[in-house]
């Protein structure tokens, strides 16, 4: 029994929540479209589509490089992590791995351990391997740091697959690799899809590792890093240009999100409950 009053309050609260969630984005889009000359009436210009700031941000920020770097790093991290984690997740779910409990506890440690605990040593390691300021310095640690989450996620999924399906496959003469490849992976398609999206997002947005491990090679800096430097350089000087840069950088993620959000959120909700 719901009365009208309750319903009105409910929707009012939801709409308020939604408005607050998009307001910051709205406000920098708004700022990015104002021309420098009319700075004083920034608040009043809602539809004055002035794109000069975008042109300037794109030219000065060299974000095309950064986007390619981010795309390369994120794709490599996702593919490598998925490959390793599918194999390991399968083993932990369906095989008698020796010392499985010990290893899983270790992975759990890795899951909650802050990056700050390893970032200093990673810097020393990469610098002694002469890998600082290269893609490897970002990709390898990112893969390793994503591993606990990916393995535990897939193990949870694989262990929910009914045993009868797997047994009937082995009766048909499929070996482990075949049953993984032709039965389990197709079954896990949407779980793997959600995981891949999450890993991509984590890597794309990672800031501290990029700041430490590619400190001085602007040609391979990732998007968050180059945006941060860009904004730092002209702090307080030209907010509209900085805003335009931020919008440019957020755009690809926002567009991808538009298509993937339903599945992503559903996957996260079901994953969060299972974990």
């Amino acid at each position: 029994m719901i009365n009208i009053k309750e319903k009105t309050i409910a929707y009012f609260v939801l709409i308020l929540g939604a408005v607050i969630a998009i307001y910051p984005l709205f406000s920098i889009v708004n700022l990015s479209l104002t021309s420098k000359s009319s700075n004083s009436k920034v608040q009043n210009e809602f539809f004055g589509f002035y794109l000069g700031n975008y042109v300037e941000a794109w030219q000065r920020g060299a974000f095309n490089h950064a986007m390619l770097s981010s795309l390369l790093v994120s794709s490599c991290v996702v593919l490598l992590t998925l490959f390793c984690a599918i194999l390991a997740g399968y083993a932990f779910a369906l095989m008698q791995v020796p010392f499985a409990k010990t290893i899983l506890v270790l992975l759990l440690f890795g899951l909650v351990m802050p990056y700050e605990g390893v970032v200093i040593s990673l810097y020393e390691m990469m610098s002694s391997l002469h890998l600082l300021n290269t893609y490897w310095a970002l990709i390898l640690p990112q893969v390793a740091l994503s591993m606990p989450f990916a393995v535990l996620w897939l193990r949870t999924f694989f262990s929910t697959v009914p045993k009868s399906i797997i047994e009937s496959a082995s009766l048909d003469g499929a070996n482990r690799i075949q049953s993984l490849r032709f039965i389990l992976i197709p079954l896990a398609k949407s779980a793997i899809g959600t995981l891949a999206t999450l890993l991509f997002l984590f890597t794309w947005n990672e800031f501290l590792l990029a700041l430490v491990l590619i400190p001085s090679n602007t040609s391979i800096q990732t998007v968050p890093l180059s945006l941060s430097f860009f904004a730092g350089n002209r702090r307080n000087s030209e907010p509209p240009v900085t805003a335009a840069a931020a919008v440019l950088v957020a755009l690809p993620v926002l567009i991808a999100y538009l298509f993937l959000q339903r599945r992503l959120i559903r996957g996260i909700i079901s994953g969060a409950v299972k974990e």
């Binding site: 409910a10 969630a21 910051p24 984690a85 095989m95 020796p98 390898l140 800031f207 909700i269 409950v273």
Partner: protein, 297 residues
């Protein structure tokens, strides 16, 4: 574990499974496990990456623990726990309680928008809020419109407001996550139960305590773990919003670590601090996981 059990395990262990886990575990060992020990090792040395290191034992820990800056950094973290974790959870619970009986139309639309702050790069988030808080930004414009020019200020640049201002950014990032997970958990509660309850004359407080909280315990602990570790780690937002300033008013442990390791080159001290921070975070999450397991059984 008894010897017999151990033998049994050895006999029935599938050693071929080691091949399956080898790629994942070797990468994890080289780039996560080994660096952890390396960090601990470094924390016993005085080293600036230029002159050779000197073994100093526990000196770095003593130095760090007697540095008032560290205590202020950790106390700022506590404030951030409030803003990044506890307030979003409180808001999420309150809203879920309000919406308990309502069948929401367009739920996936609201979800998508509420989840938005989680997917945007923290650098973009920090830049947008820097503008919102700016001296000529929207908040001050609004205040001026209502004739409250007196309290307008550069919110991130003012010693009295900067910490809370950075905290509110965290509240903004996390309240949607809490709402989404709590609302989806609350859908498991049957309407019949709620109706029966209301006929029995239960008020909202009782509903909150005896129906809502027990049914979404799992979601609450997940959100608690995610947001607490976020609050304690918090580097990106602070670095890009204030760099710890003005003064040290928004300094946090992770910023302290970054600055001492890579700006001032006190590598040993930075390693000691990062070990301490990792211990704090592991302890907090460990306790939460333990409590969660207990409540599950």
């Amino acid at each position: 574990m008894s010897l017999k059990k151990l033998m049994w395990r050895f006999r029935y262990a599938e050693w071929s499974s080691l091949l399956f886990i080898a790629p994942a575990i070797s990468l994890f060992s080289i780039f996560v496990v080994y660096p952890i020990f390396q960090t601990i090792w470094l924390s016993f040395w005085k080293w600036d990456r230029i002159s050779p290191g000197v073994w100093v034992g526990l000196d770095n820990y003593i130095k760090v623990l007697s540095n008032p800056e560290i205590y202020s950094a950790f106390s700022h973290s506590l404030v951030f726990v409030l803003f990044y974790s506890l307030i979003p959870i409180a808001v999420g619970l309150l809203i879920t309680l309000l919406l308990l009986r309502v069948k929401i139309r367009g739920e996936s639309f609201f979800r998508a928008i509420l989840f938005l702050p989680q997917i945007i790069s923290t650098v973009v988030v920090a830049i947008s809020w820097r503008w919102i808080y700016a001296a000529d930004g929207p908040i001050n414009a609004l205040l001026a419109k209502f004739g409250a020019e007196k309290i307008t200020t550069a919110w991130l640049g003012n010693f009295d407001t900067s910490l809370i201002a950075v905290g509110i950014i965290g509240t903004w990032i996390n309240y949607g996550l809490a709402m989404i997970l709590f609302l989806s958990g609350a859908q498991r509660i049957s309407q019949d139960l709620l109706d029966a309850d209301r006929i029995d004359g239960a008020n909202m407080r009782q509903e909150f305590r005896y129906i809502l909280i027990p049914s979404i315990k799992g979601e609450i602990s997940i959100v608690l773990i995610i947001t607490l570790t976020f609050a304690l780690r918090n580097f990106d937002i602070v670095w890009n919003a204030t760099q710890g300033g003005p003064g040290n008013s928004t300094n946090v442990p992770s910023l302290f670590i970054y600055k001492s390791a890579f700006v001032n080159r006190y590598v040993g001290e930075a390693a000691a601090t990062s070990f301490l921070l990792a211990i704090v975070i592991l302890a907090v999450t460990g306790l939460l996981l333990l409590a969660r397991r207990e409540s599950h059984d």
